[in-house]
Subunit: 276 residues, 4 copies
C-alpha cells in the first residue's frame, strides 16, 4: 500500500473516529456512546449476586466483547493520529486505555473487572458529539470559578482537618469510656466528619449528656461552617459569570486529538501543529 | 335555544369558571380550591390502614363525588371555551384531566386512585384567584434564573453522575466482601448518592477502616460540591433580580383560557385571539 | 400620696425597669436576665425524670418564686407606663404575660408548666440592655432581606409542598406493598420531606430496588432545590447589605414602652407621644 | 562564652528555628512538620484498643521521645528570641507549650495524653514554611468576611438558640408521654438541633403522627433557615473579595517571633522592634 493511500485511509479513519461533523462520524460516536453505556450497565449488574449467579457466562461473554471492541477502537485511534504518544498521554487517551485494561488484568487478579466503570468517564465525549460546546464552556466557567477560589478552599480544608482532629479527640475523651461507638480517636474523627458535613448516618451517636451537648454545639458550628465554602464559590461565580466568554468549537487536532480550540485558532494549543 | 342565547350562556359560564373578578367567579374559585384540598386529603387518609378499614365505604363515596364534580367542571370548561382543543392541550387543561382519570381507571386497575394526588397541582390556581400575580412573576424570576443556569447545572449533574458511579464501584471493591450493606454496585451507588447529598440515612454504612476513611473523604468532597450549584444559582439570581419586571394581570383568554397576559395586551399571546 | 409625688415614683420605677442608662436600671436588667436564664434552666431540668424524682419539691418552690417575681415585675411595668394598654399589646408586653401565665394555668391543667420556656424569648432584651443596638440593626438587615424575598420564598414553598405530596404518593405506590415503613401516604410524605431537606433520619428507608432508584433521584433533586432558597436570600442580602443604615438608639417611650426610635426622633413612632 | 559570641549563637539558632529562608532553616522546618504529623498519628493509633494492647510500650516510648524533642525545641525558641515573654504569650507560643504539657500532666492524671492532638495546630506553620503567604492572605480574606458578618451571625445564632429551646419544649409536650426518645426537654432540644441543622442521626425520631407532622414543618423551616447564614457570608464575601490585598512576606521578627509583616515594613507590628 503506497504511503499516500495509507495516509488517505488514516485521514478517513480519523474523520470517523475523532470528528463528529460527517454522517459516518456522528453514527460512530453515537454507537460508541451506546456501547459505553451498555458496558457500564453490565459491570454494575454483574455485581448483583442474584443476576451474577444466573447470567454469569452471559456477562463474561459480554464483558470480553466490549473490551475487544474498545481495544480495537483504541488501536485505531493510536494508528490514525499523527502523534500517537501525544494522544496516549492526553486526558481522553488515558481514560480510553484505563477503560480496557481492567478486563485483561482480571485474568491475573480477581475483582479488577469492577474497575471497568471507569468507562463511564468516556461518556464525557457526549458534550463534543452533540455540539454541546456551549455546555463545555459553561463547565469551564465552573472550573474557572473553582480555580479562582482554590487557595481559599485549601486554607478552609486545612482548617477543617485540624478542627476535625481536635474535636474528634475531645469527643473520644468525653464518650470513649461509656460508649462503644467512640472506641478510638480515628472512629471519633470519622463521627466528627459525618456530623460536621451534616451527613449524620447515626451509626455512631453520642450517648452521654455532655457528649450530646458538645454534639449540638458541633452541629451549630457545622451549620455556620457550611456557609463558608458556599460563600467563597458564590463570590467567585458572581465575578466569573460576567467575564465568561463562550466557545462552540468541536474541532479535534489531527496530530494529538486535542479538543477545545478557539474558533480562530490556526495551530493546536496542545502540540503546536496546524489545525485543518 | 338560539345561537346568541347559547353564546350568552357560554359567556356567563366562562366568566364564573375562568375569571375571578366577579363575585360569582370568586365564590366558584374558592369553593373549587376547598374541594380540591378536601379531595387530596381524602386520598391521603384513604391510604392509612386504620382509617381505610373503618371508613372504607365513606371514602369510596367521597372519592366518586369529587370525581363526578370535577368531571362536570372539566366538561363545562371545554364547553364554554371557544377553542376546546387549545384548552385541553394547555398545562392546566392536562392537569384538570389527569385529576379525574385515575378514579375511572381504578375501576379496571386497582391502586391507581392514589394517583389522584395529582389534583394537588390544581391548587396552583390559587395564585391567580387571589390576584397573586406578583407572586407568579416572582416565580418567573426563579424560573428565569434556573433557566439561565441550566447549562451549568446540566454539566454539573453529568459530572456528579459519573463521579457517583466511580465512587460507588470503588466502595463496592473496598467494602463488598466484608459488609452485607455493600452487596452490589447499584447499592453502593445508592449509598454514594445518600452520602454526597448529605442525606445520610444510615441504612447502609461502611464497616471497614478503609471504607470509613474513604467515606470521610467523600463527605468532605460532598461538602465542597454542595457549594457549586448554590454558587451557580446565587450568581444568576443576583443577575436576574435586578432585571425582573413585574406583572399583575389575572385576565384569562376567552378562546383558549391562557393566562399571564401583559397589562397592555390586546391579543392573547397563546392563540392570537382578541382579549376582552 | 399627692399626684406629683406618685408621678415621681412612676418616673423612678420606669427609669429602673425600662431604661438601661442609669446604674440602678442596668443592675435591674442584668439581674432580670440572670433570673430568666435560671428559670428557663429550671423548667428544662424539671423535665429530666431522674432529677424530677429527687428534687420535685425544690423545683416546685423555685418555679413559684420565679413566677411571683415576674408577676410583680409585670404589674410594675403596667403601673409605671403612661399607657398600659399599649404596653400590654406590644411584642414584649405579650411575651412578658405569656412568661407567667403557664404556672397559674398549671394549677388547673397539668403539663402546661413546660410552656414556661417561652420565657426564653424575654432574653431578647439582652440586645437593648448591653447597648447592642448595632446588633439589632443587623438583625433588621436580615429581616429586611427576608421580607424582600418573601414572595419568592412563598412561591418556592408552595411548589415544594405540591412536589412533596406527589413524590410521597408515588413512593407509597412503589414501596407501599413490600415495605412496612411506607404504610400510608402521610408517612411517605413525611419520608419525602426528611429526604428532600437532606435530614435523612433513616427511620424510614426504601427497600425495593425501584424505590432506592427513585430515592437517589429525589436526593439529587433536593440537592439542586437546596440551591434555590440560598440563591434567593443571597441575592437579596447582597442588595440589602449596601443599603443598610445603622441606628444605635436604646431609648424606650415613656408612654408605651416602645423601642427602636431614630436618633433624631422627637415623638414615639408607635403611640405618637413625645419622647423625653 | 563572651556576650557577642552568645549573641551570634542566638542569631544562628533563631535563623534555623524561626526562619525558612536558609537551607538549614527549611530542613529544620520540614523535619519539624514530619515529627508533628508522626506524633499526632501516634496519639491517634494509641487510642485504638487492638494496637494499644500490642504496641503499648512502643507507643509510650515514642510519645516521650516526641515530647522531649518538642520540649527542647520550645526551650530553644524561648532562648533565642530577644523577648521570650512576648513569644510565650503569642498564638504559636501558647500552642507550642500546649503541645508538650499533656504528656507531663499524664504522669499525674491518666488520659490527658490524648490532648496531645493539639499538636495538630502546630501544622499551621506549613503555610509559612512553604512560602504560602498567598494562602495566608486568602485565609485573612475569609476571616475578614466572617468578621464583617459577625454581628449578623450573632443575632442569627441567638435567634436559633431561642427557637431551638421553644421547639424542643413543644416536641417534648407532644412526644414526651408516648415516646421514650423524648424523655426530657434537654433531649428534645438535642433532637431539634440535630434536625434543624439537617444532620438527622435518627437515634431520636418522632413516633406520633402529630410529632411527625411538626417535624416535617421544622425541617422545612431548617431548610429556609439554612439559607440565611449562607446568604450573610456570601454577601460579605462578594464585598470582601474585591477589596482583598495580597501579601507574601514570611519574615519573622527577631524579638518576638511575630509574623505576617508587610513587604515594606521596617519595624515589627507586634513589638515595635526593628526587622532585619
Amino acid at each position: 500500500m503506497p504511503t499516500s493511500q495509507r495516509d488517505k485511509l488514516k485521514e478517513k479513519i480519523h474523520e470517523i473516529i475523532f470528528e463528529a461533523d460527517t454522517t459516518a462520524g456522528k453514527a460512530f460516536d453515537i454507537g460508541l456512546l451506546l456501547l459505553i453505556m451498555a458496558s457500564v450497565l453490565v459491570v454494575m449488574l454483574e455485581s448483583v449476586q442474584g443476576l451474577q449467579a444466573r447470567y454469569s457466562d452471559f456477562f463474561y461473554a459480554l464483558e470480553w466483547t466490549f473490551t475487544i471492541i474498545f481495544s480495537i477502537e483504541y488501536l485505531l485511534r493510536l494508528y490514525c493520529v499523527y502523534r500517537p504518544a501525544k494522544y496516549a498521554g492526553s486526558f481522553f487517551g488515558i481514560i480510553d486505555l484505563l477503560a480496557i485494561l481492567p478486563t485483561y488484568i482480571s485474568l491475573i487478579i480477581y475483582g479488577t473487572q469492577y474497575l471497568l466503570v471507569i468507562r463511564a468517564l468516556r461518556l464525557l465525549r457526549v458534550f463534543r458529539i452533540f455540539k454541546l460546546g456551549h455546555f463545555l464552556s459553561e463547565g469551564e466557567t465552573i472550573v474557572r470559578a473553582l480555580k479562582a477560589s482554590r487557595a481559599k478552599i485549601t486554607v478552609f480544608l486545612t482548617f477543617i482537618l485540624l478542627l476535625v482532629i481536635i474535636i474528634g479527640s475531645v469527643m473520644y475523651l468525653v464518650e470513649g469510656g461509656q460508649n462503644e461507638d467512640f472506641s478510638s480517636i480515628p472512629r471519633a474523627i470519622y463521627w466528627t466528619i459525618v456530623t460536621l458535613t451534616t451527613v449524620g448516618y447515626g451509626d455512631i451517636t453520642p450517648a452521654t449528656g455532655l457528649g450530646q451537648f458538645l454534639s449540638a454545639f458541633i452541629m451549630l458550628l457545622g451549620y455556620a461552617i457550611l456557609a463558608v465554602p458556599t460563600g467563597i464559590v458564590s463570590a467567585e461565580m458572581v465575578a466569573t459569570v460576567s467575564k465568561a466568554g463562550r466557545s462552540n468549537n468541536t474541532q479535534a487536532c489531527r496530530y494529538c486529538g486535542g479538543e477545545g480550540h478557539a474558533d480562530d485558532a490556526v495551530y493546536c494549543k496542545y502540540c503546536g501543529e496546524r489545525l485543518n
